[in-house]
Structure formats: C-alpha cells, structure tokens
C-alpha cells in the first residue's frame, strides 16, 4: 500500500495501462514534451516515446476524430481535452461518431477521453465548467467521475479496458487535495457501480466528483444531530440505480448535490427517476444543492457565491431533515 494523491493515481493508472497493453496510446495538447498542463503525463514521452505520447495541435475535433479512427483500428487511444470546456469544438465527433458507430456499423470504438473538469480554481467561465450533462444525454457514451485516488486509478483502468467510448471526468480541484492509500497490485473499479462514501440512516446525499468530500464534510458537521448517508455515484452513465434506490428506501429523504449548475444537470434526471421508482418511500421532496445557473464567474468572491460548499450542503441537509 502507498499513499498518493488523486493526480498521481491518474498518472499511475495511465502508465500501468500503457505498460500492460501496447495498443494504448495518449494524445492531447501539451501532454508530451510539456508533461501536460497539470503534469499528469510528466515523464511519459521519455518512457513510451513520441509515437505513443502525441502532442497534438490545438484542435479538439481533430484529437477526437483521430481517436475514433485509431479505435476503429483496434487501438486504445486515451485523448485529453486539456480543459473539459474545450470539448465543445469536438462535440460532433463525440456525439455523432464515437457514440453512434457501434449502433450503426457494429464496430467498437474503445476510446477514452480524459476531461479535466470543474471549478473552484479561479479559472473563469471557460476553464471551470462541469460538462458531464451535455454527454449524459447521448446514448452510446459512458461517463465516470471519480472522487478519490482509489477510484481515479481504478476507473481510468476500467475506462481504457472498456470497449465503449468512455468520458473520464477528473476534477481539477481534487488533483492535489485528495490523498489515499492504494494497493500496489492491479485493480479495476467496475463502471456502473457507485459506493457508499459515508453510511447513515436519516437522509441520503447523492453526489459525485468534487462534491463528495464537501458532502462528507457537511455530514460530519451535522453528525451529532443528523445521521447522513453519502453516496458517491462514481459512474454517471450508467447510473447505479440499485444502490441509489436502496439508500433512498432506507432513509426516505434524498438530497442531490453536484457542482454542475442546476438546470438540466444530472440531478434533474436522478430526481425524476427516484420519484418514478420509489415515490411511496419518500418522506420529503427531492432537493438539489448545485451551482447557480450562470457561467462560472472569475472573481473569487463571485465564484464562491456561485458554487456549493460544505456549509451550503449542510444547510440543505438540515432543511430537508427538518421538513
């Protein structure tokens, strides 16, 4: 066992997969010689060579298109969108090609797209968005969002080994803030499975990514009065509905927390599904704690106002508990 950071876990996961399988290669902006904007791929080009660690032009559509092409040739590309905000210029490649080729031709597209995502880093509107909702809505894509170093490593491996296009949402805020003990041997976290991050019986918080540690902190703040269960979704598509519904049936109150903005965020779909499936188990409305519906502000004070944080989550828990 060794204790490493979230970003180190991603790095290790990538390296191990590249060592294990020759068909795995990386492509993205500044990932080779520069080692990556956040240094995830530092040392990779020296170890694996420039054929497997490709510095691309500033052209997301090309990066994704190349990945699709390579995947169709039975390689396993791992593309990086330097900031997940930039994926919009490659949107068509992802949603109309990568997502639909298997449906249309029966050919697999085993590609992974790393999506450094999220705010709280004073990045402003184009470097801080949570873009998962855009792709949650596209049948044919898988989406994962680890919140711990263990899941970061386990899910990048699962994503690379998966024969479907998988979007891997790594949260920038967690890069150096999450630390965890990891086993040294090869392990994979199954896509489609969430986990109970904190067990409780009074109220369920459903969350993912950066809001997992924030929710746990909020829960701990209230621990003397409210016994909150925190579910880390880990997998956004497919969702682990079994785990989610089991928890809601147990506690009868559900609070959804995500850093993404409110309208049309994944929380909305979750809320609809919970009502459809377990309406009779609900002792209160399904509420959401999210960012507000604006672009991500640049001014730190405004960004703080914009986003959820442990205090806001705690207030949400308390209000729902009191209902």
């Amino acid at each position: 066992m060794s204790e490493i950071t979230y970003i180190q876990a991603i790095s290790d996961g990538l390296r191990e997969e590249m060592q294990r399988d020759e068909s795995v290669f990386l492509l993205g902006e500044d990932i080779g010689n520069y080692g990556g904007a956040f240094k995830v791929t530092k040392g990779f080009i020296e170890e694996f060579g420039e054929d497997r660690v490709i510095d691309t032009p500033l052209a997301e559509s090309a990066i994704l298109g190349m990945s699709i092409g390579a995947a169709l040739q039975e390689m396993r590309p791992v593309a990086e969108m330097q900031f997940s905000d930039f994926v919009s210029t490659g949107f068509n490649q992802l949603v109309n090609n990568a997502a639909k080729i298997h449906y249309r031709w029966g050919a697999a597209v085993p590609m992974t797209v790393r999506m450094p995502t999220g705010g709280g880093v004073h990045g402003g509107p184009f470097h801080s968005q949570n873009t998962e909702a855009w792709f949650f809505h596209v049948p044919g894509l898988k989406l994962v969002a680890p919140s711990t170093p263990y899941d970061a490593k386990g899910l990048i491996k699962a994503a690379i080994r998966d024969n479907n296009p998988v979007l891997y949402f790594e949260h920038k805020y967690l890069y150096r803030r999450g630390k965890g003990e990891l086993p040294n041997d090869d392990f994979v976290v199954e896509i489609g499975k969430g986990r109970v991050a904190r067990e409780g019986k009074d109220l369920t918080v459903l969350t993912y990514g950066s809001m997992v540690p924030a929710s746990i902190e909020a829960a701990n703040q209230l621990a003397s009065q409210i016994d909150t269960e925190v579910i880390d979704l880990r997998s956004l598509m497919p969702l682990d509905m079994e785990l989610i519904l089991e928890s809601v049936r147990k506690t009868n109150k559900a609070l959804i927390v995500h850093e993404d903005i409110k309208t049309g965020g994944i929380g909305a779909e979750l809320s609809a599904r919970i009502t459809e499936e377990v309406f009779e188990w609900l002792d209160g409305p399904i509420r959401r704690v999210t960012s507000i519906d604006t672009p991500v502000p640049f001014a730190p004070s405004l960004e703080e106002y914009f986003m959820p944080n442990p205090d806001k989550i705690a207030a949400g828990i308390r209000e729902l508990w009191d209902y």
């Binding site: 004073h122 049936r249 009868n252 409110k262 309208t263 309406f279 009779e280 188990w281 609900l282 002792d283 209160g284 509420r287 959401r288 704690v289 999210t290 507000i292 519906d293 730190p300 004070s301 405004l302 703080e304 106002y305 959820p308 944080n309 205090d311 806001k312 989550i313 207030a315 949400g316 209000e319 009191d322 209902y323």
Partner: protein, 421 residues
C-alpha cells in the same frame, strides 16, 4: 474614507508590475472607472481605471518603479466615512461575500431563498407516511391527532413511528409492499366485480336513451284467452307433428297485433322531431323480444303483415332459435316498426316495458292465469291475461293508444280458429 490602491495581478503567473505613467497627480479629482495609471507586466501593458470616485490623495510608488502584486501604490480619498478600506482583492470583500453566501439558500437559482410552498404542514401527509399508516391500520383521525415535528407541523416518518410504538406496534417504517400498480379503488369487501360485455352495455345505453326520448305512457287491459287456450290444447299435438316445434301463444298474439297495427297505422310509425314529421309505415316489421343468456335481443319478423298465422309461427320459432344460438345477423334485428315482449313469461301479471326506439309503442304480454271473472252477471273461471301497451305520448294520445290496445283485445277474444291451420 481613504481607499488603498494596490498593484493589480494582471495574469495568473504575474507576480509584479511596473508603473509606466500616472495619469493623475495627488490633489486631482478622479471619477469611478476613469483611467488613473498605466502599468506594465511581463505580458501586457494595461491602463488601470479607478475603483472609486474621489480625489487622488497620495502616490506611494513612482513611475518606473517595479513592485510586487498587492503592494499599495496610491490612496484615494472619497466622500464617505473615515475608515481605511482596500479596493480590489481585499480580505473584507471576501468576508462580505462569504456572509452573503452563508445566507443564500442552497437550492436557489438566482440567489433568492426558496419559499416553502403551501401544502406542507398539518394537512399534508407524505407518500411514505400514508403508506405506513395504511399498512399499520392508522385511521385518518388517528393520523390527524399525531403531533408533527416537521415544517408547519407536518407529521414526519419518525412522528408516525413514535406514535405506533406508543400504540404498542413494532412498525418496520417501510411502506406497504405493492406488487401491482396502484389503482384508485381496488376490490371491495363482499363485492364481486363483473365486467359488462358489449351486449349489456348496448342494452344499458338503449334503455336509458329510450326513456329520455319518448314520453312513455301506459294503458293496461285484460284479455280473456279462454278460447285460444282451448284451441291450443286441442291442436298442439297435431301442430307439433306437422311443424316439428311447439305451438305457443306467441303467434296468436302476434297475429292479432299485426292486424291491429294495420287498423291503426299511426301506431305503426316513427317520428322525426327535427322535421316535425310522423312516418307511418305501410308494412309491419314485428319485433319479438327474446331472452338469451345474460341479456335480451329483439329479432324482427319482416313483413309480418304478409304472413299467415303459420308463417308467423314458423318465423318466430326460426328467429328465436337463431337468437339463442347467437347466430342473428344485423339484418335480423333491424327495421322493426313495433315490438312485442313477454314480461309474463315467468308468471308475472304484467309489465311496463320500455319502447324499442325508434318505434312508438311496445306491447307487454302478461302471464295467462285462471281467474274468476264476471260474465253476464255470473262468475266464471276464465283464462285471463293482462296486456300493457307502452306508447309515446309525443305522437299518440290516450284515445288512439287505448283504442289500439282494445283492438288487440278484441281480435284475441274473437278468435275462432277458422282458417288457422
């Protein structure tokens, strides 16, 4: 109020800046957003606007000097209270914002707190609470007696569970299990639910509609059927032999009715209220109501006026069989001008039938019973039968209705058996 002006950070990696030029000098008035100075960083040169309105009080960093980001470079004096407050990324602004975010409701869209809407409170029971209550047989009045600790006095899950424990139960806190989709009202105690078939629905519609259409009135008369009864007794075996089916009273009554209808064409008619027309038919299509399993149907003897007694008998028998075998086709049940029905079939004295639309009358035949009657001031025992005529008073008044009925009575009582068989 003295406001600090600090060296701004012009980029993430920028650590210091150089004053290129002061556009204002101490003592100058300055407006908000008016350009105050120019600075240079390793990336760009920038014009820096003033954050406040007032007077440039003091410059602490001169042109050409390079200082770290955050260093105070000047002071502005404003009209407001005497307090030093920093402009730009100060601690205070952060604290203020933090204050605001604490107040902001977590689930609000644009920073405004959500109001708890109407129904929460004493009169609202959540799906879970209702379900547990149903499972544990908690009555509505019991539920209403529970003190709720939720918002507005709402009864929460734990309140109900606490109540149940005090009542002695050991509730699981789970809603009643449901394996089927929930229906509004399920099966009731002691009630068997029978689905109405198409015929039943059709009868229901027709009967209701007929009562709503015609102005039903009724005339009742007695018929002395003794002669016909005698005749039938004497000839039924022979009839059976020749025809292969039983001779019933039906053809006798049918025959009399047809003749009476020919005498009173106004009864053998239908009405068009919109046009204000009565349509008298010169042919008689006689409907005969037949009871079948779980319902009734009215096959029609077409052109009954052209048939002989035997013909009526045969056709009646044929249609009745077809009805019971469920082999009637649409043509068999359409086009009737008058109907006969038999409420007396089970022994009842008489009935008050509903007119078969779009006809104007229907004859209800009662049971034949031996009764003492007065004939020529003496008492005799006779086979008597009640006849009821239901008819539509929109078209037929009491005079014609009564007379028509009497005509049938007359034909029946005059029966002499001549030329029948």
């Amino acid at each position: 109020m003295r406001i600090e002006v600090i060296m701004p950070q012009m980029g993430e990696s920028v650590a210091e800046g150089t004053i290129i030029k002061w556009h204002k000098q101490p003592g100058d008035a300055i407006e908000k957003d008016e350009i105050m100075l120019e600075i240079s960083t390793d990336k760009v040169d920038s014009e820096i606007p003033s954050s406040h309105e007032g007077k440039l009080a003091e410059i602490t960093v001169e042109e050409g000097e390079t200082v770290e980001v955050g260093t105070t470079i000047a002071y502005i004096e404003t009209e407001k209270d005497a307090e030093i407050e920093s402009s730009g990324d100060g601690e205070d602004a952060k604290a203020e914002a933090a204050e605001e975010t604490k107040e902001a409701s977590p689930a609000s869209e644009n920073g405004e707190p959500i109001e708890t809407k109407g129904r929460s409170g004493k009169d609202f029971y959540s799906p879970l609470v209702r379900s547990i209550a149903a499972k544990e047989n908690v009555s509505q009045s019991e539920l209403e007696s529970i003190e709720g600790t939720g918002i507005g006095g709402r009864v929460r899950k734990q309140d109900l569970l606490a109540y149940l424990e005090s009542r002695g139960a050991k509730p699981s806190g789970q809603p009643a299990k449901r394996t089927e989709p929930i229906k509004y009202s399920g099966p009731m105690e002691g009630v068997d639910v029978v689905e109405m078939d198409n015929m039943r629905k059709s009868i229901a519609r027709h009967m209701r509609s007929s009562l709503d259409t015609s102005a039903h009135v009724y005339s009742v008369s007695e018929v002395d059927m003794t002669r016909i009864v005698k005749y039938r007794e004497e000839h039924k075996a022979e009839f059976r032999n020749n025809e292969g089916f039983k001779l019933t009273y039906t053809p006798f009554i049918a025959d009399a009715t047809v003749r009476a209808l020919l005498d009173f064409p106004r009864v053998n008619a239908s009405v068009d209220m919109d046009k204000g027309e009565i349509l008298e038919k010169r042919f008689v299509n006689l409907g005969m109501a037949v009871a079948i399993e779980d319902g009734l149907i009215v096959p029609v003897i077409k052109n009954a006026d052209e048939r002989s007694f035997l013909g009526l008998a045969r056709e009646t028998y044929r249609l009745a069989n077809k009805a019971r075998d469920e082999e009637l086709n649409p043509d068999d049940v359409q086009g009737g001008t008058f109907t006969i029905t038999n409420p007396g079939i089970f022994g009842n004295l008489y009935g008050l039938p509903i007119i078969n639309q779009p006809q104007l009358g229907i004859l209800g035949v009662g049971a034949i019973q031996k009764r003492p009657v007065v004939i020529n001031d003496a008492i005799a025992i006779r086979s008597m039968m009640y006849l009821t005529l239901s008819y539509d008073h929109r078209v037929l008044d009491g005079a014609i209705g009564g007379q028509f009925l009497q005509r049938i009575v007359q034909y029946l009582e005059e029966f002499d058996g001549e030329g029948i068989l």
